[in-house]
Amino acid sequence: MLMSDLSALPRLGSILLDPDAGAWTSEPARHATLADTLSVSVQPSKLGAVIAVDSARLEAASSAIGAGLTAVQTADNDDSLFDSVRSLADDPQTHAAPLPIPGGVSNPFGGPFIHHNFPGPADAPPPFGNEPSTITDLNGDIGVALVRGTGTDGNGTTLYFEADLRFMQGRYLDVSGAPHDGAFGFL
């Protein structure tokens, strides 16, 4: 979508914005608020426990993820690590398709235009930084993690990975301009 096309979309205006978001004089308490009504967005008490650097727990998480995948392989008996919604089929959101950001980079291999900026500071010029979201018409939270690491395959062989993982969560307008509350991952 071109920037000029954005004006054609419904402008829901201030109802989507936090009262404190305009000034940015202090930490905004929240952005999108529809998630509150779903009672599934922010769980600070749980988060605090998760974020505490607990290497034992994180190692357990690694093992459990593997166990979860094994469960997928062997049976539908899902006893994986995660205690929340585990599949999109169980998720209360609608998953209405979002729009890509207008910007991005030309595809060097002739495929579709790449509506995405590389990871980097949000105040840097694109494409190395700048807008971190890959979807537009969003009012919410984002996270970007560009990391490298190691792991093993099923034969015990060490392999090396690089990952650019992101989330976008909050209120967004779908391709028809209708508002939704949802979460998206980039990987």
Partner: protein
């Protein structure tokens, strides 16, 4: 998520073995614009406490594709089904706080640059991968933010 057989291959982007991503989305307009490697995830798989500088994205059993290498992926070439799980945790010292208002690119927000760790696992026919513990992650760049863009950027 790109997987390589060696550190040097990763550094040089050679001999890539796997490229896990959701592919391009469906065209959204007459120009054929499509979302890039972006897929819906359960809304409760993301937890954010922005004020505290903490966030987590924890997803299991996400069905995506393995395109095996970047050129094939960007050409939207052939792929096979794969299932991935990952746990990304943002936290620790905030190295930079910034407020950005960028009318030229249609977004504004408040951002905190701070490290993240990742645990990642993948499975497909004939292949499995489980990353080492999250505290072995090498962070290259990470941030959390609170933003609005597009027609919601006013």
């Amino acid at each position: 998520v790109d997987i390589y057989p060696s550190q040097s291959d990763l550094e040089n982007k050679t001999n890539q073995l796997h490229d896990f991503n959701p592919g391009f989305g469906d065209p959204v307009n007459a120009n054929g614009d499509r979302t890039f490697w972006t897929t819906a995830i359960p809304i409760c798989s993301v937890n954010v406490d922005f004020q505290a500088g903490k966030a987590e994205m924890r997803v299991s059993h996400l069905d995506i594709e393995d395109y095996f290498n970047l050129p094939n992926s960007l050409k939207d070439g052939q792929s096979i089904p794969a299932t991935v799980a990952f746990d990304v945790v943002w936290g620790g010292d905030v190295t930079r706080r910034l407020d950005v208002r960028d009318p030229a690119h249609g977004f504004e927000g408040r951002f905190k640059e701070q490290p993240a760790t990742v645990v990642f696992a993948a499975k497909e026919d004939g292949f499995t991968f489980v990353s080492n513990p999250a505290n072995t992650t090498r962070n290259l760049f990470a941030e959390i933010g609170r933003e609005r863009n597009g027609s919601l950027f006013v």
